[in-house]
């Protein structure tokens, strides 16, 4: 451990750590644009400059190795003067169009400018005009006037995703971020550059002009789209900003997804499938009404019918969902595990065109909790020839034909495909309507919080097993 002081506060740094890392870890805020913990040091924004007592000049703290006995000053008038002039340079040709910028409210440039600059630009020169809506790919647009060339996006595509999608071309004030022709055609992680952009230069086409971010709040959740189980944040509308009709449906809408830093699972990154999770939440056609052989009924009747079917069955079986939480799987085991033959199933298979697996995050198993299912019930695909007369199917995307002639009790979040209806259909809540835990493929347990209220007509699967 290296002992040093930052602003007269004693701080311990790990060997090899920089002053900026030590400061951030100890809750001392040193402003920074280009520094990112998972990317190489670029040192080009120059706003993290600090002073070392007894040494002349200013030093970028992102590239300053912590040394024993170092006395760092990061909050004195001359360091703040440097920050101020850096911000004057950074905003020299910046359009300052915060009122129409999606990043406003969570923009480092905006925050620092208010905190350390606070005066209008001394410049009277006309601002440099540049391309506003440059298409990086089908998902991302670049506003070059807002870009401060911190090179985070370039470094991400070079060092993390490896696609080489972006580069900085030309020099001096002609420098600009450009899509490189030799770069990979599509980058399955490209949306990370939107999130890591410290200004409003990289814009999500999906989120563009959808909402001001201060109306929204993030809820910690887990991405269920593969067995990595990345930590995410689902952004919903805040209580005090709820809309009355018209537009009340926006109150129950997921606005966007962001990666939630979790060094054990996903670091600060997420794949584009994860960034599209809000579309899955918003666009999925939910099963909302209980049904008996296709005809709408009440929950009470549906549960009674299911109970009777199971009671009368000679050889009942159950298929558990790999989308069930650890709590639900435990509830299922204690309530029904001994009375039914239990099979397992991967609810979701890779879709056409989807990246099946790669070195970074994406896993081939497209279900969030296969690990727990296998730990509790083993791996047993359903055997249609075992002669089961009643099957309790928990989970979505089921083809009833594969279950043979058995009568089906289906616990579903999504509206089942058209065709032969299940004998009993009981709608259940999605993971975003309850709290729980998933265990990812490495055995790491990750908690997700409730994002939305469940519709009244659906049940939590965990409450339901005891009543069957």
């Amino acid at each position: 451990m290296i002992e040093l002081t930052i602003d007269n506060k004693a701080v311990q740094a790990e060997p090899g750590e920089t002053v900026l890392q030590a400061a951030l870890r100890n809750g001392i805020e040193i402003p920074h644009f280009c520094y990112h913990p998972c990317l190489s040091i670029a040192g080009n924004c120059r706003i993290c400059m600090v002073r070392i007592k007894g040494r002349p000049g200013f030093h970028p703290s992102c590239n300053l190795p912590a040394a024993p006995g170092m006395e760092i000053e990061s909050d004195c008038s001359d360091v703040n003067a440097v920050r101020k002039s850096i911000l004057q340079f950074a905003t020299l040709n910046h359009p300052a169009d915060c009122p129409v910028c999606d990043k406003a409210g969570e923009c480092r440039l905006q925050d620092y400018n208010f905190k350390y600059n606070g005066t209008p630009s001394p410049s009277i020169e006309p601002k440099r005009r540049q391309r506003k809506f440059y298409q990086i790919n089908s998902r991302i647009m670049l506003d070059r006037e807002r870009c401060i060339l911190c090179s985070r996006c370039v470094r991400f595509t070079k060092e993390i995703s490896g696609s080489g999608l972006l580069g900085i071309v030309e020099r001096a004030d002609q420098s600009r971020v450009e899509r490189l022709e030799q770069g990979g055609v599509e980058d399955p992680y490209s949306d990370n550059i939107i999130q890591s952009c410290p200004v409003g230069a990289l814009l999500s086409r999906d989120f563009l002009y959808k909402s001001r971010v201060w109306y929204l709040e993030p809820v910690a959740s887990v991405c269920p789209r593969c067995s990595r189980g990345c930590s995410v944040e689902v952004w919903r509308r805040q209580k005090q900003w709820q809309l009355r009709a018209p537009g009340a449906d926006k109150n129950h809408m997921a606005y966007r997804i962001s990666a939630r830093e979790n060094p054990e699972v996903n670091g600060p990154w997420l794949c584009n499938q994860g960034f599209d999770l809000h579309q899955v939440i918003n666009d999925s056609v939910r099963a909302l009404a209980p049904r008996l052989a296709g005809a709408e009924s009440t929950l009470q009747d549906a549960l009674a019918a299911a109970q009777r079917l199971l009671f009368e069955a000679e050889k009942p079986a159950a298929i558990v969902s790999a989308w069930g939480s650890n709590e639900e799987l435990a509830a299922f085991k204690s309530a029904l595990g001994s009375s039914l033959t239990v099979y397992t199933r991967a609810d979701r298979e890779p879709e056409a065109g989807e990246v099946v697996e790669d070195q970074l995050l994406i896993k081939a198993d497209k279900n969030p909790n296969s690990y727990s299912v296998e730990a509790i019930f083993g791996r047993r695909p359903f055997a249609a020839d075992a002669g089961h007369d009643v099957v309790l199917v928990w989970g979505d995307l089921v083809d009833y034909a594969s279950l043979g002639s058995a009568k089906v009790i289906h616990l579903a979040t999504l509206e089942p495909a058209a065709g032969r209806p299940a004998e009993v259909l009981v709608p259940i809540s999605t993971m975003f309507e309850r709290t729980g835990h998933y265990t990812n493929f490495e055995g790491k347990v990750n908690r997700f919080e409730q994002v939305f209220e469940k519709p009244e007509s659906v049940l939590h699967a965990g409450d339901l097993f005891g009543r069957l």
Binding site: I168, R171, Q174
Partner: protein, 429 residues
């Protein structure tokens, strides 16, 4: 003209760049002596005794720079910085065109002293004759067994690899030169790590200027003590001064350090063109702060003395400015150069150089407004010391010094919309 030169003492002829001519004037004897009689450490000690300081601009003692090399590395590299881009400086070009073997011998000596097997010359892309003469000299040296495997039959082997620049001034900055050699964009690197620890291809690297390396053969032949006798106490040896601008005889002059400025301008260079009075001198390449005629009255060409006068001896490119020159227009030439040559990596330099250029250009078009001078001063303080490499300071220093020394000309231009002088940069003779 050869009589005043100390180390580069030869008549310039059509053949003076060839191997036989170099051998006739004693070339490669120092290398032979070093390889046969001296240990690498002894070569280093000789250089240390000479007190030789780097000739690229910063004037750092060469032996000290060598001693910073990280110990115990499997590979070391030597890079010769020949990306001579500083406006007003043309000494390296002179060496390449007239005595390239002197550089090659110097590099071989440095490589021997430092245990380097592969060394690099990064030569400015615009140098055409220089490049051809260097390549020819390398070919000659290779064929004569002076370069390559087992130099002069000894156990020492050394290769020299030549890399041409692509026209970027910033690649004269040592770390961006390394990036450029490695095939990356010529962006300066953050320090630490310094090149002496992690330089070219992450190996400890020494980067020396052409003139520095070309001086080594003399030091090894005649001894460091003999070298230390020339020049001043703190600054031994001579410098190649390239004098340009409004003088009668612009060109290369090798003079001992401590030589008076006025003598160089009025005696050697023949005085100011057109018999005009001297107005100002930029003493060491365009990035060094300007000095007025009064400043150089008793000034000698010595890094310490020039620093005391508030400027730098830099690369030794003396730009002489005659009375009647418009300093606003002159500064506009400089700001345009730096705004164009900034690599664009770090914010203060990228934005600041362009901003300064816009303001100075506006003033020189007669559209200056009150407050422009203060605005420029604010920009220079914002840039200086806050950039990754020295280019930002190199751009800010002339602006700051012009504003101090010739403030009245800027004020006049802003107030009246026209130059205090006739507004021309060239003068009629």
């Amino acid at each position: 003209m050869t009589s005043r030169r100390v180390f580069f003492t030869f008549e310039i002829t059509e053949e003076s760049h060839l191997l036989h001519a170099y051998r006739e004037r004693g070339g490669y004897q120092a290398l032979e002596k070093a390889l046969r009689e001296m240990q690498p450490a002894e070569v280093q000690a000789e250089v240390a005794a000479s007190g030789l300081r780097g000739r690229g601009g910063a004037g750092f003692p060469t032996a000290t720079k060598w001693s910073f090399l990280a110990k115990g590395a499997p590979v070391y590299y030597l890079c010769c910085n020949a990306d001579e881009g500083e406006p007003g400086t043309f000494k390296d070009r002179w060496v390449f065109e007239h005595s390239p073997h002197q550089l090659i011998e110097g590099m071989l000596l440095a490589c021997y002293a430092l245990g380097v097997r592969h060394s690099f010359i990064y030569i400015r892309g615009e140098f055409d004759l220089s490049y051809r003469r260097l390549m020819h000299a390398l070919k000659e040296a290779r064929e004569a067994g002076l370069l390559g495997d087992s130099v002069l039959g000894s156990a020492f082997s050394c290769q020299i690899i030549v890399q041409q620049g692509a026209g970027a001034y910033v690649c004269g900055e040592e770390s961006s030169m390394l990036s450029s050699i490695e095939g990356f964009k010529g962006y300066p690197r953050n320090k630490p790590p310094f090149p002496a620890v992690k330089g070219l291809y992450q190996a400890p690297t020494v980067i020396n200027n052409v003139e520095t390396l070309a001086t080594l053969p003399w030091i090894l032949a005649k001894g460091g003590a003999a070298y230390a006798k020339i020049g001043t106490e703190k600054n031994s040896g001579t410098r190649l001064f390239g004098i340009s601008g409004h003088v009668q005889r612009p060109g290369m002059y090798e003079r001992a350090i401590g030589y008076p400025f006025k003598k160089l301008i009025y005696q050697d260079a023949g005085g100011i063109a057109g018999g005009k009075a001297l107005k100002a001198v930029i003493p060491g390449g365009s990035s060094t702060p300007v000095l007025t005629a009064e400043d150089i009255e008793t000034l000698t060409m010595d890094a310490e003395a020039v620093a005391a006068a508030g400027s730098m001896l830099g690369s030794g490119g003396v730009i002489v400015i005659a009375e009647g020159t418009c300093m606003v227009r002159l500064l506009q030439v400089l700001t345009r150069f730096y705004a164009h040559e900034s690599c664009g990596q770090c914010i203060p330099c990228r934005e600041g150089t362009a901003w300064m250029n816009k303001i100075v250009a506006r003033i020189s078009e007669g559209r200056g407004v009150a407050g422009d001078i203060e605005r420029l001063e604010g920009i220079t303080t914002g840039i200086m010391g806050n950039t990754i490499c020295a280019l930002g300071a190199a751009a800010a220093m002339p602006v700051a010094s012009f504003l101090i020394k010739f403030r009245h000309e800027f004020a006049y231009f802003i107030e009246h919309g026209r130059s205090l002088n006739d507004g021309r940069l060239e003068i009629k003779i």
